[in-house]
């Protein structure tokens, strides 16, 4: 557990350091969401209807854009080889890296979401559900993303390929995340959608570390 914590702490610090890219990802999230009121126009009814969807799709893109830093830099400078020799199963190393990715993208995106939702004229009554859904849903993005990041680690400029691999797998999280907020806006219970989102999280947690670790082992050969 000590080693697990050390990897989480290291990756988090690297992401927050100069050139780490965490701030750029958050800035991308904020700027992209800001584009929608500008592009759609000052139609508050329309904005509030698409608000949840805009936030989720943008969160998805922000997570995807930052996935390449999960393994790429460590692969290129030889750190990944050493990490694979560490006294920790590679599956847990993957989990630690996904956790660090979430701490530096998913978590801040979740915190920022209500602020941006205000700009999109989403009813503040739905904010708790929005944040809860993002809290459950954004770790899925990091977990599933780890598979794509591990598969494309040996490919230079594999960013687009990574997106193509990962995007279809993000669909359930997107659907249930948006539906939960929509239900709250319509005065219905968001519970079933949140539960399904939770199930998606548990499945991702159970499966992705094995798949990503297997992909990494192949790439380390």
């Amino acid at each position: 557990m000590n080693v697990f914590g050390a990897i989480v702490a290291r990756d988090t610090r690297l992401a927050l350091r100069q050139g780490g890219g965490s701030y750029w990802t958050l800035l991308f999230f904020v700027l992209t969401v800001t584009m929608f009121p500008l592009g759609v126009g000052p139609d508050l009814a329309l904005l509030s209807r698409i608000g949840a969807g805009v936030l989720w799709v943008t969160a998805l893109l922000a997570a995807m854009l930052s996935l390449d830093r999960m393994f790429q830099a460590d692969f290129e400078d030889g750190s990944l080889e050493l990490l694979s020799l560490a006294p920790l199963p590679l599956e847990l190393t993957v989990l630690a890296k996904a956790a660090a990715h979430w701490l530096t993208t998913g978590l801040p995106v979740t915190v920022l979401a209500p602020l941006l939702a205000l700009m999109l004229a989403v009813d503040p009554a739905a904010f708790p559900v929005l944040m809860l859904a993002m809290l459950i849903g954004t770790p899925i993005l990091s977990l599933i993303g780890s598979i794509g990041a591990a598969l494309t680690v040996g490919i230079r400029r594999g960013g687009v390929l990574l997106s193509l691999l990962v995007m279809p797998l993000y669909v359930p999280a997107l659907i249930f995340g948006v539906l939960a907020v929509q239900a709250a806006l319509d005065g219905l219970t968001p519970r079933p959608h949140l539960l399904l989102l939770g199930a998606d999280f548990l499945v991702a947690l159970a499966i992705t570390p094995w798949l990503a670790a297997a992909a990494l082992r192949l790439n380390l050969e």
Binding site: A6, S84, A86, L220
Partner: protein, 209 residues
């Protein structure tokens, strides 16, 4: 570290390595006793690095097997990884971290209780501890990577051209480190193009047969 804790032999039998449908080497055998050092010599592309990567478990041999104390290494790769320290071509240095932060992380992972300062001073990097690693020269990065060894309790060191881009003083510091490791019963397998002044080191020529 006493000889007793490391009383084991590391041997290879009939190792064959195939990369991209090309046989790199065939039927290779060696044995390293506690306190022993094996120098891998051979022209470029003869498979020195591949052999080290097989020894480290990154690569599966196409034939043959590695043994630790007569037990096949492939049977328990996790235990094998725990007993080796590997230094490859790449230096695993994070430019955004300071020199001390870089080495401290790897020392923490290896579970050795060595302090970063101690490890750094073994390779003459003590005065650079708080410098961001982005400002290091190639040789200094190499030394930073090698500093991990100073705190390593692993009995088996696998070093891939460790003296490349090192100056004479640093090479000497590295050799001192290796000799201290061997005096404690540790083993080292070293791929090199230079004549390393190690006492009673055996040499394995790859690609010569």
């Amino acid at each position: 570290m006493t000889a007793a804790t490391f009383a084991a032999t590391f041997e290879a039998r009939g190792l064959t390595c195939i990369r991209g449908e090309r046989v790199v080497f065939e039927n290779l055998a060696f044995s390293v006793a506690p306190g022993g050092a094996l120098l891998l010599r051979g022209a470029n592309g003869t498979g020195k690095s591949s052999l080290l990567r097989i020894c480290a478990g990154f690569l599966q041999p196409a034939g043959g097997e590695l043994r630790w104390n007569a037990a096949p290494v492939a049977g328990d790769l996790d235990a094998h990884r725990a007993r080796l320290a590997y230094v490859g071509h790449l230096d695993a240095v994070k430019p955004a971290f300071t020199v001390a932060e870089n080495v401290a992380f790897w020392l923490k992972l290896s579970g050795a209780g060595t302090r970063a300062e101690t490890a750094l001073s073994a390779l003459g990097l003590g005065h650079l501890a708080s410098l961001p690693a982005a400002y290091l020269s190639a040789g200094q990065r190499r030394r930073l990577n090698l500093a991990r060894l100073a705190g390593s309790a692993a009995p088996l060191w696998l070093l891939d051209e460790p003296t490349s881009s090192l100056d004479d003083a640093s090479s000497h510091a590295l050799l001192t480190l290796i000799e201290a490791h061997r005096a404690g019963g540790g083993m080292a397998v070293i791929a090199t193009h230079q004549d390393l002044a190690l006492t009673k080191a055996e040499t394995l020529r790859i690609g010569a047969q």
